[in-house]
């Protein structure tokens, strides 16, 4: 190691020397950076930021990394690297590294919608056949579906996310809504309007808006992509169907009635939560379960008045399809330690670790058995509803062109005030088709 540190200092005399130093230190750095030189291999795990950050004691992925390093008994050690905050930025960074065959990335935490694109480009290592059962045992179905590409398991479910309808009990009561029964978007909009409160939604031009649109369409019985897995020119879209029009009608009504707050076109999860945390405007909110842990941090005075229910129905009488999210763990096909990486993935996704992670970060486990745990039931009073929603959830379209599909839908549906059931779904279909043929820009 000392040789590595000293080498650049030896020649610093001439101009050419300086160039040589720059080149040599680059080489030496890469030589020193190689973990293969001594000791167990270091597996680098790119994680999405969670409540634990990079701190190995806060119950986040950083803690799982440390516990699995300790449990490996010298077989490997895991070091973590933090990805950016937003899902789009995470995808960009992962994609760049994967495309560059970066051996410095062994494992990665992926949003379910990235899996198809990465797998189609052969960037992901297939799950070893003897590990597949262990990694998917008791996992909720949408999480397994999202980890599968062309009948092959290419990732392991780690945690699974879904949205709930959060509401103020007093507001629902005043509006005459029976929240023990499934409610529809129409009922919510009318209730919010009559009580002069807001419905927190995500309608900024970003992935969260796509989550909403997809849930609305799936809830009406349609699918954005009818034949997942098909190549670009073969893809069929269900946007302009009756279901797509129903979905657009909901967005149009929310925008027209002004119940999504003053700046609907720029609302993301945080802005929607802020609307809900503001006593004067709070009524309803569709958002992920992290809300439950976030509300006390915002010092809301009405925490006992907060209720939760299943995601609203797009069409009355048709069971809602809550959004699906979460994290799948993948192994880089360019990694030089794939075997150890899959061992590490197995360790990270054990039910015990999923429970630890759920308690630490509030992110719901993908493994159904975790929800039977008394500790989980106590800390998450809505855990039964989360599990039910996860099982009923509809993933966003599984297609290798997901990024294009999502961007095109977001663009045509933005701003939400311009959404028209008669034209917007057809415009979205036309745009995606043209983009995938290479005839339009995004």
């Amino acid at each position: 190691m000392t040789g590595c540190a000293q080498a650049p200092h030896r020649r610093r005399r001439s101009i050419t020397g300086a160039v040589a130093v720059a080149a040599a230190s680059g080489l030496l750095l890469s030589a020193c950076g190689s973990p293969a030189a001594a000791g167990p291999p270091v597996l680098t795990w790119y994680i999405n930021p969670d409540g634990g950050g990079a701190n190995p004691t806060k119950g986040g992925q950083a803690q799982l990394a440390k516990e699995c390093t300790d449990a490996a008994g010298g077989q490997y050690s895991i070091s973590i690297q933090l990805l950016p905050n937003s899902a789009s930025d995470q995808r960009q960074q992962l994609l760049r590294r994967l495309a560059a065959k970066d051996v410095g990335m062994d494992m990665m935490s992926m949003d379910p919608v990235f899996v198809a694109e990465f797998a189609e480009a052969t960037f992901l290592d297939d799950v070893p056949a003897d590990s597949a059962d262990e990694l998917t045992k008791d996992a909720v179905k949408p999480a397994i579906d999202a980890a599968t590409w062309k009948d092959k398991l290419v990732a392991a479910p780690m945690w699974a996310n879904t949205q709930l309808l959060w509401y103020r009990k007093s507001v629902a009561k005043a509006a005459g809504l029976d929240m023990n029964q499934p409610v529809t978007w129409d009922q919510l909009i009318d209730a919010a309007k009559s009580q002069d409160v807001t419905i927190g939604v995500q309608a900024s031009r970003y992935e969260g808006y796509m989550v909403w649109i997809n849930a609305l369409i799936e809830g009406a019985g349609g699918h954005i992509v009818e034949n997942p897995g098909a190549s670009g020119d073969q893809l069929k879209f269900g946007l302009a169907s009756e279901a797509g029009k129903e979905a657009a009608a909901v967005i149009q009504k929310v925008a027209r009635e002004g119940v999504a707050g003053p700046a609907m076109g720029t609302t993301d999860e945080t802005a929607a939560l802020d609307l809900f945390a503001n006593e004067a405007t709070s009524g309803f909110l569709v958002n992920w379960p992290y809300v439950w842990a976030a509300l006390p941090d915002k010092n809301v005075s009405f925490i006992d008045d907060v209720g939760w229910a299943r995601y609203p129905q797009t069409v009355a009488g048709k069971a809602s399809k809550p959004p699906f999210g979460g994290i799948e763990l993948g192994v880089n096909s360019a990694s030089t330690h794939k075997e150890q990486a899959w061992d590490a993935v197995k360790c990270i996704t054990t039910p015990e670790h999923q429970k630890l992670y759920m308690l630490g970060t509030g992110n719901p486990a993908a493994n159904k058995t975790v929800y039977d745990d008394p500790e989980i039931k106590k800390k998450f009073p809505m855990s039964a509803l989360i599990r039910e929603s996860l099982d009923a959830a509809a993933p966003r379209p599984l297609t290798q062109y997901y990024g294009d599909v999502s961007s095109a839908v977001q663009r045509t549906f933005s701003p939400p005030s311009s959404v028209d059931p008669a034209t917007t779904p057809q415009a979205a279909t036309d745009l995606i088709t043209a983009v995938l043929r290479g005839d339009a820009l995004l």
Partner: protein
């Protein structure tokens, strides 16, 4: 550079004998110049020329990074798609609009600040440092601070200007095209006016004070001195400042990326290129757009240099 500056007579003599045979000394100096500047020249060509050529080459392909096996040579198809797509022209229009608004406002504001800085003697250095602060802030950081200031939840602008008609606590600046453009332009103007004013200050310093005095003695008003004496004498500096800022403004990216992400039709050419090349990993189309952006910049530079007769070495003679 060192050759011409340390030895001006040599430069003059080489100019005179341009058509004639060069003297040994001129030859020696020329070769010394090449030996001194050569390595830098080679490095420059390598680091700028190679990527440019690579981008031009890539732009002829339908090439997606996640689908390398289907890479197809399509020659000019990417350019045809881009130039026939309304999105491209919308982005061009937004870019031109932002360029014109920001450069025009910056020129006036920057000139006023330059005049003030030129006249003030006592805290001259501190003043110049203070004026430069916005320019020293990273664009992304300044974009975020303007973004947060104008948002309905974290912002304070709505509170400050609630007395104006049409503005109240719920005014959503980023909900439409013109509101977004206004904030984007404001942050850009705030950040780069100092640069403009410094360039103009350098131009002001070149104006001979005796000419101003002569005009004053002749009874010229302040306005006449400004328009007849000062401005004509610093035309070169103004043009250089305009050229630099126009090229800079035309590549606007950070503010839009942070504030709207291109929503409401506010995407600029740089952002559009970024979306194709980095987000969609459509290397071919991204390269084609980058080449088009490069051509636009070339045209602007050529228009300034030829059309307005900007002498980039102006002020040296």
């Amino acid at each position: 550079m060192s050759v011409t500056q340390t030895d001006p007579p040599a430069q003059a003599s080489s100019k005179k004998k341009k058509k004639q045979v060069m003297t040994d000394r001129a030859k020696a100096e020329r070769s010394l110049g090449w030996r001194l500047a050569g390595p830098a020249f080679v490095v420059m060509v390598a680091v700028t020329g190679y990527p440019i050529l690579q981008a031009i080459w890539n732009s002829f392909f339908n090439y997606r990074l996640t689908d390398p096996t289907n890479k197809k040579f399509t020659f000019l198809n990417n350019y045809i798609v881009a130039l026939s797509d309304g999105v491209f022209w919308q982005a061009t229009w937004v870019t031109v609009l932002i360029t014109i608004i920001t450069v025009a406002v910056e020129l006036v504001l920057g000139f006023i600040i330059a005049l003030v800085m030129h006249k003030i003697v006592i805290p001259r250095r501190s003043l110049r440092t203070i004026v430069l602060i916005p320019y020293s802030i990273i664009t992304v950081v300044s974009a975020f601070s303007w973004f947060y200031a104008f948002r309905t939840d974290t912002g304070y602008i709505n509170q400050w200007f609630a007395w104006l008609p049409g503005i109240d606590a719920s005014t959503d600046w980023f909900g439409g095209f013109w509101g977004s453009i206004l904030v984007i332009c404001l942050s850009e103007i705030w950040k780069t006016t100092p640069f403009m004013s410094l360039l103009l200050l350098a131009g002001l310093a070149q104006v001979d004070a005796s000419m101003e005095e002569a005009a004053e003695v002749d009874g010229a008003t302040w306005w006449q001195r400004l328009t007849r004496v000062i401005l004509p004498n610093m035309k070169a500096a103004i043009m250089v400042a305009l050229l630099f800022r126009t090229l800079d403004a035309f590549r606007i990216f950070d503010n839009i990326f942070i504030m709207t992400g291109g929503a409401n039709g506010t995407s600029s050419l740089s952002l559009l290129t970024y979306n194709q090349a980095i987000d969609r990993v459509e290397i071919g189309m991204g390269s084609a757009l980058a080449v088009l952006l490069f051509l636009f910049v070339l045209v602007i530079a050529a228009a300034f240099v030829r059309g307005f007769k900007v002498d980039l070495t102006g002020g040296r003679n």
